[in-house]
Symmetry: C2
DNA sequence: GTCTATAGCCCGATAGAC
DNA sequence: GTCTATCGGGCTATAGAC
């Protein structure tokens, strides 16, 4: 990937996070990336094409980060909790979650698909850890691991929403501690 | 409120839900409401002013609906569950939650405040029901009622996000059933 | 690969007539 | 109260030169 294309993708990742899809203009991308109009349209067919490249990079970065945090020698439940408590730029919101508010992103299959795949991948990873905990006799086996994983993902996404509305990270942190306390209440012999 | 102003507020509520704040133009509002430009600017100073009126109406409608659903002679925990299972246009997203993705809404105190107040009111209402359940000996008294209420709000908001990404109501429903199962596991003598 | 020019349209708001 | 005209600017994309 050429240097100009590289900078365009990086800049688009930033602007999609800050301003959303509808709020990000090709002009703004070019200005911040220091790349001319002709150059941008040489490398990317359209705004949607560039946004797709930015989305794909953001989702793979987020998945790689989650995988890093959920790996290690610790008990599976501890790794899920570590992921839940992962420090985040809460008031900036979720880079990919916020894109779901944009009607054009949702209406465009190509732009929606990476979001779905990313959430599916993260949910599956958490679900696998919960099942692992159940098989090791460390978590109530009667729980639906996939449902709890989905709930966990939802708490995080919803936490961002509440925090941005409040103008404070407090609701995010409270929601996270709430779900952790409910899950740990179903843990077996996990008191260290 | 005059008939024109009334139609403008109603139409703006619809458009904010469908297209967001940045995606809703005064022109689009006027066209759908069947009200001319001059008329609109006679009743409302600006787009933000009209959006504020629409936001206020939407939040008071949502709070009234929640209050209706969480009232009744049933046990407090049942009323919380009934609220959680309340039928919703899931794929349209939350009318007010989605506005938190807009940077201009978040940056404008007047437009952010109604969102914060609505989420605070709903969280407080759920929290009160959870405490009521605890005082009646129907819910584990060691739980932090306010934190669980915040978690509950977050699950709903995050459920919308996951559902819109997936293009399916399934993740929303799964997340809701997950949190219900975790809360009911802390219920005392609630098996009917 | 990158440049400038231009197209055609929409934006949010104001002015002043009626 | 509602109308039309108009402002200065931004939007996404294409064309054709260099």
């Amino acid at each position: 990937m050429s240097d100009a294309a590289e900078r365009l993708v990086l800049t688009t990742q930033e602007l999609l996070w800050e301003r959303g899809y509808g709020g990000t203009s090709p002009r703004a991308i070019q200005d911040r990336a220091g790349v001319g109009q002709g150059s941008m349209y040489h490398h990317f067919r359209s705004k949607a094409d560039l946004a797709l490249a930015a989305e794909k990079r953001s989702t793979s970065e987020l998945i790689a980060e989650a995988e890093r945090v959920m790996s290690g020698p610790e008990k599976p439940l501890e790794r899920v909790v570590r992921y839940l408590r992962l420090e985040r730029a809460v008031l900036k919101g979720c880079r990919i979650g916020m894109l779901t508010a944009d009607p054009d992103v949702i209406a465009t299959e190509a732009l929606r698909a990476p979001l779905k795949e990313a959430f599916d991948a993260l949910t599956t990873r958490i679900s696998a850890l919960l099942r692992e905990a159940q098989e090791a006799g460390q978590l109530d086996a009667s729980l639906d691991a996939h449902a709890i994983a989905t709930t966990t993902m939802a708490v995080r996404q919803g936490g961002y929403v509440l925090a941005r509305a409040a103008g404070s990270t407090q609701p995010y942190e409270e929601a996270i501690e709430g779900i952790i306390s409910l899950i740990e209440a179903r843990a077996i012999g996990a008191r260290d």
